[in-house]
């Protein structure tokens, strides 16, 4: 049949194949990791090989957010707003120690201790900054996730389900901290474990 030019496939497969190979990342940068992301987009590492070369400067046209750098508390509402403005289906790669956990600034007063408190994250890329190859690996993981995503059933993405929301609340600037300090539907404080310090 294949030789006759007839291809049998499911709709989900062809849909996922299509979007996995034309990812449009959102063009924005937060800190030093952004330099590494720019480097991935340039000729030497060339993210275009994966179909993701068009960095869109508008959230309306993007479907991948690369959280590249330190998210300060002052910047956070804008970042969540950008994420809300992106159309579904959308994915988020967290790049580097800062965006995943606060990194070197974790104990500071002005840095969010991980962007996963406010928006859902699909892939974490560790490093400070991650090598360009690591970011490409993260992109390939996103592509894998896209290819394997079922469109129906309980594992369907959030925009096909009735029981989830695609809009994430934007915290307010408080007098001492962000209000609320994290989105309690996405993130819970970790279980109480204390080891004795040396």
């Amino acid at each position: 049949m294949r030789r006759q030019g007839v291809l049998l496939t499911s709709f989900a497969e062809i849909y996922n194949w299509g979007r996995a190979n034309s990812i449009w990342p959102l063009q924005f940068g937060l800190a030093c990791c952004a330099i590494e992301m720019i480097c991935v987009a340039a000729a030497r590492f060339d993210i275009a090989r994966f179909g993701a070369e068009i960095f869109r400067a508008s959230p309306r046209q993007a479907d991948l957010m690369i959280m590249n750098g330190t998210v300060t508390k002052k910047m956070l509402p804008q970042v969540v707003r950008l994420w809300n403005q992106m159309g579904e289906p959308k994915f988020c790669i967290v790049m580097g120690a800062c965006a995943s956990s606060g990194g070197p600034f974790r104990e500071g007063y002005n840095v969010v201790k991980g962007i996963d408190r406010f928006i859902p994250v699909d892939v974490y890329v560790p490093g400070c900054p991650p090598r360009p190859e690591a970011l490409l690996h993260g992109l390939m993981e996103i592509q894998k996730k896209m290819r394997e995503e079922p469109l129906t059933g309980p594992d369907a993405p959030r925009y096909f389900r009735k029981d989830t929301t695609c809009e994430y609340p934007i915290p307010e600037f408080g007098e001492h901290d962000l209000v609320p300090p994290y989105n309690s539907e996405l993130w819970k404080p970790p279980a109480p474990i204390v080891r004795e310090g040396k």
């Binding site: 007063y109 300090p181 204390v194 080891r195 004795e196």
Partner: protein
């Protein structure tokens, strides 16, 4: 370039003896500085900027310093004759006094016109750390101070009078604290750390007073 003593003497001759003090730095860098009295500081700054022998036309850096209240213990030794005829006794009396704290703004000045290599450092001090925290802004003299004075205002809470646009620059406008002050207490958003130590361990203990028995290596023994 004149030495700092010469500059001080010229300021004293022009503005009066109580307007300037020379503060020496005992450290190896030996960067001495001039402490200006706040009410005359703008005029003195204008003088430093315009004087043909100095021409300090460039302020490279302005920053703040927080000096909290400091307890100073002074020990005075007095000898008292022993009434029993023995050797004299030495009695130490300790007196404590509180040196009141203040906030300080420090400016590093260079002359581009005269190609100076070393900065001339001037300082100003507020009256205290709580309510009287105003200093004259030097932005009208050196335009480059504008953002840095905003940063001092944001992080230390010094209010600069005469500043063209005194707003917070790094933190958001609704923020109430001044994070670079020594007594700043950050938001208590402690959470689990794999290897807590030092200050983090103290905070960890406050949040999780009793470690669960199953995870504590000591209780397994």
């Amino acid at each position: 370039m004149e030495t700092l003593e010469q500059i001080r003497d010229r300021i004293v001759a022009k503005f009066g003896a109580d307007t300037v003090t020379l503060i020496t730095n005992p450290g190896p860098s030996a960067q001495h500085s001039l402490l200006l009295v706040a009410h005359a500081a703008r005029d003195i700054a204008r003088f430093l900027h315009d004087d043909p022998a100095l021409r300090l036309d460039y302020c490279s850096n302005a920053t703040g310093v927080d000096w909290p209240d400091k307890e100073i213990v002074e020990t005075v030794k007095t000898t008292q004759p022993d009434p029993a005829g023995g050797p004299d006794k030495v009695v130490e009396t300790k007196t404590k006094r509180i040196q009141p704290g203040c906030l300080e703004a420090v400016y590093h000045l260079y002359s581009i016109a005269l190609k100076s290599a070393e900065p001339v450092i001037i300082r100003m001090r507020t009256a205290n750390r709580t309510d009287d925290v105003t200093l004259p802004s030097l932005t009208p003299v050196w335009r480059s101070c504008e953002f840095q004075e905003r940063e001092i205002y944001d992080l230390y809470g010094i209010v600069f009078t005469g500043h063209p646009d005194l707003r917070r620059i790094l933190m958001w406008d609704e923020f109430k604290d001044h994070p670079m002050r020594k007594d700043y207490v950050g938001p208590d958003d402690y959470e689990w750390e794999p290897t807590p130590h030092g200050e983090v361990l103290e905070r960890a203990k406050a949040h999780y007073p009793t470690p669960p028995a199953s995870t504590s290596p000591k209780s397994e023994e």
